[in-house]
Subunit: 449 residues, 2 copies
Amino acid sequence: MTPTRALARYVVQSRWEELPPPVRHETVRALVNWIGCPIWGSRDAAVARTLAALDPFSGPREAAVLGRAERLDPFKAALVNGVAAAIADYDDTHLETVIHPTGPAACVLLALAERHRMSGAAFLHALALGIEVQCRVARALAVAPARMNGGWYLTGLTGGIGAAVAAGRVLGLDETRMLWAIGIAAARAAGARETHGTMAKNLVAAFAAEDGLMAAFLAQQGMEAPETPIEGRRGLGSLVSDGADFTAMTAGLGQDFELMRNAYKPFPSGIVIHAAITGALELARAHAPDPGSITAVRLTVHPLCLELCGRRTPRTAVEGTFSVYHWVAVALTEREIGIRHFSDAMVNDPAIIALRDRIEARSDPGFRKDEAAITVVLGDGTVCDHHVDHALGAIERPPSDAELGAKLADLVGGILSPARAAELAAACWGLADAPDAGVILRESTLGRS
Amino acid sequence: MTPTRALARYVVQSRWEELPPPVRHETVRALVNWIGCPIWGSRDAAVARTLAALDPFSGPREAAVLGRAERLDPFKAALVNGVAAAIADYDDTHLETVIHPTGPAACVLLALAERHRMSGAAFLHALALGIEVQCRVARALAVAPARMNGGWYLTGLTGGIGAAVAAGRVLGLDETRMLWAIGIAAARAAGARETHGTMAKNLVAAFAAEDGLMAAFLAQQGMEAPETPIEGRRGLGSLVSDGADFTAMTAGLGQDFELMRNAYKPFPSGIVIHAAITGALELARAHAPDPGSITAVRLTVHPLCLELCGRRTPRTAVEGTFSVYHWVAVALTEREIGIRHFSDAMVNDPAIIALRDRIEARSDPGFRKDEAAITVVLGDGTVCDHHVDHALGAIERPPSDAELGAKLADLVGGILSPARAAELAAACWGLADAPDAGVILRESTLGRS
């Protein structure tokens, strides 16, 4: 059997009750980690502009825009929520492939949850399958021996496939139609990293969500698609990679879950900065240096940290995401990190800038990506050192359920009332037993009670 | 100035009246050549399935589905008409890049023509710009020294950009917003040739149309996008090609028009078969051999003919498109070619199959792509030879206006009444002087008078 058909068969035959309990719980955690992101992002200009462009064309307004009063047809709701979820790059990361798999799948499920009434378990099951398939396809395209062109935004390439799988599961597609849904999504897979640093970056995963949802509806109606959309001679794999390994799509399927290697960011910054931030936070908490007395900071990090996030003089919150200097200065000054630190004001704060300019960083190819060392020198000659073996948020140091709950509360704090925020968290944690997944929407949108 | 910004500036500053008269007339010809395709295709199962999937989600039904009574919101109308237009692969071909540029641009303009009332000249101008930009971007990606991965369906990669340009022109985008529209479309550019031979092939250009339309509306609302979406380090060019030549995007812009090198197929078959069909038709007309008396046919063609269209035993009309054997048998038997020959029945006709099986083809790398030689041997020993320097439909042998009119009449004959068909043709030929481009829609749809 071809890998894509095997994936389709697995998705169609899988049963929620047969997923190992840790996988089921991790799916809930993925949702709790993620759902604050679109609610927080709902206030961003990119969301307002997307809404302004699409709202006039909405079909039946069967789906909620998270964190807002507007309602849209499911395609447009999936797209707008996808944009909102991407704003702060604060969602999940499958570390081996650096894709962000929850968003595309969750966006289509939330878009469908009112039209297609489903239990909380059905919602979580489709979410788990959507995440798992994305990670597996991403590994096929991007993990050794694959040589994927680094300009591709892999979340865009795989997101539609995961979204199609999640939606297809809710629509009850049979094996062949599930294969077609994957094929239609694969034929539309896209996403250039040239968008990074611009507002349009937020569209890439959002387009993937919309595309996957449409693929599922088209397949449901019998739109025939290739048998080998990913692994075929002219399929997605050969288009974006010189050495795609399609065995990664199915190896250990149903036994070994990539979903368990999906990490949740504790900081709203580039993932490759996390080790340095962890070091700065832990050093600051241990030694409590007065930021004004710091005369020098020396960082040692993995080369990818500086390659991707070595921006010296960010001017906006988004640019700050790519600056290890900015975030280490914030960590040393604030001693804790929340979404409030993702702001243009923070990036332009004179005290933060002054400290940032006293930071030097060097890369060490011997360091792991989640490893960092930091040395802080104070005006009185005191020298503080700290070494981080694994960044907070690494697979070895996952956030606890309580920490994920705190992240959710932090993200929605400015938008939902404390009572509503608490209800949303409770709804997510209890979703597996809820008769109607739509309850999440009722908790996470405004304008509805 | 970067190439994409230069294209955006040109598109925004261009004036219809300043286009050379042959370019303006060729734009009308492109429309006449194309518009029969979606009307003919409107009866295909792929269109019915697309409609079934999308109609329930339609927003304001401001746009017509060509050849049908249904109406949809502009995004969905562009998509459905795009599917219909692709069914028979009978549209235009920019021969150097083998893209089909009219469809994506025309689909968005037809989708907008009722919402945004525009003159016929404005419609044609936007169409010309959409075609021209697609061809130029396609040359940058695919023409020497570019080494584009052959699995890409280039119409899909460039179609959204052309559609965005056409829509952006109608929306009156300024230069920067036009640049953003191109950038958003480029970030969503997709299309795997793995879909070829399946129903989903028809989605690729259709998705491009919808994506380009959405890109224009997003850019209009201020969705910021990259400055160098095609030529940037992680832009579309580097993603799909090892040697993209971005100078092709702007060389001779406004002076030398790729649109003038866009060809119109006289036969509903693969373009690389056209020389062989031309040879068979001309030989059959000159010598009038009884098909039943033909004992052998020998073809000599360019290697690409057999590589792309060497299918020996097609079983469906779509598979027949890729069979030089099938189409040469049809030409020798029927002595003229029309859309009625694109059918499952013709592919399975015992007499056609019997003749097809007596055809041998060899490739000669010394032949041009539009060159062919044919030898027919009859039972009485008669041998007829014919050599084709340029296929019908090649740039050197373009169809006359009358022939394009006949192709349109042939395509719409089973769907529009003769009077309606004549009105449609007249509306297209006279479009440059029409105050309202919407007149095309009124002529080409059913259910409205």
